[in-house]
């Protein structure tokens, strides 16, 4: 904790959990869809399930706008959040919010189903307080990361040696990066698999990690590698 965790963050109100945290959840989906230019999101179909307290208070907290803004790549301090519904429509993004309790989920949980051309996937997570999030599910695969550390997600084909390829690359080219937490999950043998690699925080690490993700993306059998920046 530092002084800017107390006098900060700068955010769009009204609620750190129901607004700022919701933007961050949306941003995880944005990174997984992996399209930076909002114009290229034209045709994106979203079905967003709001569970628990999210379902009951989303209008007053602007949770719907916040999630949508995050999915479009905005930050928790972007003034565009307030107009996110209109911005989405103007950019040809189709969205639907469904109030439906997800069994055994944290009270502030959202499940984002997205479809854009051949990209189809799901991100599910919870806003666990103070703008902090926990991501539970990516494309049907269980994950568990909080965003306290910079996290690299590697979507890949389940083949022998992929983990070794990724960690050797890290060891050789990024010797100061240390893995704080590692998780592998897959739906079926030989299908899509997902590595969740949480890294110890280091000064100036983010640029280094973006480069690392780009390098990992170039490895055999890797479909996509993204960096989720720490809070």
């Amino acid at each position: 904790m530092n002084v800017f965790d107390i006098i900060g963050p700068v955010m769009i109100g009204p609620s750190s959990s129901h607004t700022a945290g919701a933007v961050r959840l949306g941003r995880v989906a944005n990174k997984i869809i992996n399209i930076k230019d909002i114009k290229a999101l034209k045709g994106l179909k979203l079905e967003i399930i709001l569970s628990g307290s999210f379902a009951r208070t989303y209008k007053g907290h602007g949770t719907d706008r916040a999630l949508l803004a995050g999915i479009m790549g905005y930050h928790s301090y972007s003034e565009e959040i307030r107009d996110a519904l209109q911005i989405a429509s103007a950019n040809g993004i189709n969205y639907k919010f469904i109030e439906q309790d997800i069994k055994n989920a944290h009270p502030n949980t959202a499940r984002i189903n997205f479809e854009l051309d051949d990209k189809v996937g799901t991100v599910e997570g919870a806003s666990i307080g103070g703008g902090n999030i926990r991501v539970d599910l990516v494309n049907g695969m269980r994950v568990d990361f909080t965003g306290e550390n910079n996290t690299i997600l590697v979507l890949h084909w389940d083949r022998p040696g992929v983990i070794a390829d990724v960690t050797s690359l890290m060891r050789l080219k990024y010797p100061s990066a240390n893995i704080a937490n590692f998780k592998l999950s897959r739906r079926e043998r030989g299908g899509e698999a997902l590595m969740t690699i949480e890294l110890d925080n280091r000064r100036g690490a983010l640029d280094n990690e973006r480069e690392m993700a780009a390098d990992i993306q170039g490895l055999n059998n890797v479909i996509n590698a993204i960096v989720i920046r720490a809070i």
Binding site: I7, V10, M11, P14, A20, K59, G60, G62, E79
Partner: protein, 293 residues
């Protein structure tokens, strides 16, 4: 390195080095964040600018919260001040009231604010500090520095109690913000570090047990007006401390008491809207209204 476990230690560290608390905090934070003190100052200056802008934008006549339950109170207060020669409490104090209303209702309308320490209590530090700035009662540089004192007090509170309404009730949000603001005000008025501690202790003691009972689960009723009472308690606590009045219970013990009171609060009074004002006949009716809209 400072530990931020006891306010007593912050006070001692400042007094032995003959510095203000904000000065030792900015130096310490620069070291631990591996940045220059100027970089931290500039970042804090940016945060203060966001506070000032929120006071202006939140005073808009037509401001409405997302739910439609609140909005425009700061404008009403400003008009009252203008038409009544400052009103009952006078120009300066009522402008601080208006500033707190402005920022807290701007938050409820999805405006840009600084969580200080939380979004629900975001009007208290601006209510105190932006009004001092607008009335030229303190130098901008010193005001920005005083936010480091407020932040350090907040870190100690977060380390020993809580700053989340869901954990400790409103005392943890508005109570903490008010205690932090009281300390900052004392420093700005050239009080001693020890007096900063007394001011914080008095402010926290005056909000001990305050429950978190938001109507319809939204950060509006009673949150917006509780930001105003947080400002008033911060001013009166700072003035008492500057007058040499001491808190009889030391500040670190007040924070410990806040923690034990918070744990003793039933869940219904910790942000779940199961009790308090949220569960009054009118509170329930307003909730229905929001759900139907």
């Amino acid at each position: 390195m400072l530990e931020y476990n006891l306010i007593k230690d912050l006070i001692n560290a400042a007094e032995t080095s003959h510095k203000k608390i904000s000065e030792i905090v900015i130096e310490d934070q620069a070291l631990s964040m591996e940045l220059k003190p100027e970089e931290l100052f500039n970042k804090m200056s940016g945060n203060f600018d966001v506070m000032c802008e929120a006071v202006i934008k939140g005073s808009d006549k037509d401001l409405k919260s997302m739910s439609g339950l609140t909005g425009g109170e700061a404008y009403q207060m400003q008009s009252y001040i203008a038409n009544n020669n400052g009103g009952l409490s006078g120009n300066f104090v009522n402008n601080a009231v208006a500033a707190a209303l402005a920022v807290a209702s701007y938050n409820a309308s999805m405006g840009k604010i600084v969580a200080a320490p939380t979004a629900g209590s975001c009007g208290i530090l601006p209510g105190c500090l932006v009004s001092l700035y607008n009335f030229k009662r303190a130098d901008k540089h010193d005001i920005i520095m005083s936010l480091f004192t407020a932040g350090a007090f907040g870190m100690v509170i977060a380390n020993n109690a809580s700053i989340a309404g869901a954990e400790g009730g409103c005392q943890a949000e508005c109570g903490s913000a008010s205690g932090m603001a009281a300390a900052a005000l004392v420093e700005l008025m050239n009080g001693t570090p020890e007096q900063c501690g007394h001011a914080c202790a008095i402010a926290i003691a005056n909000q001990l047990g305050l429950v978190c009972d938001p109507v319809a689960g939204l950060v509006e009723i009673p949150c917006i007006k509780r930001n105003v009472s947080g400002v008033m308690i911060a001013f009166s606590s700072a003035d008492m401390a500057l007058a040499g009045i001491k808190a009889k219970i030391p500040v670190d013990e007040c924070i410990a008491a806040m923690q034990s009171v918070g744990s003793a609060l039933p869940v219904a009074l910790r942000e779940t809207s199961g009790g308090g004002l949220a569960d009054t006949p009118t509170g329930r009716k307003l909730k229905e209204l929001v759900l139907l809209s």
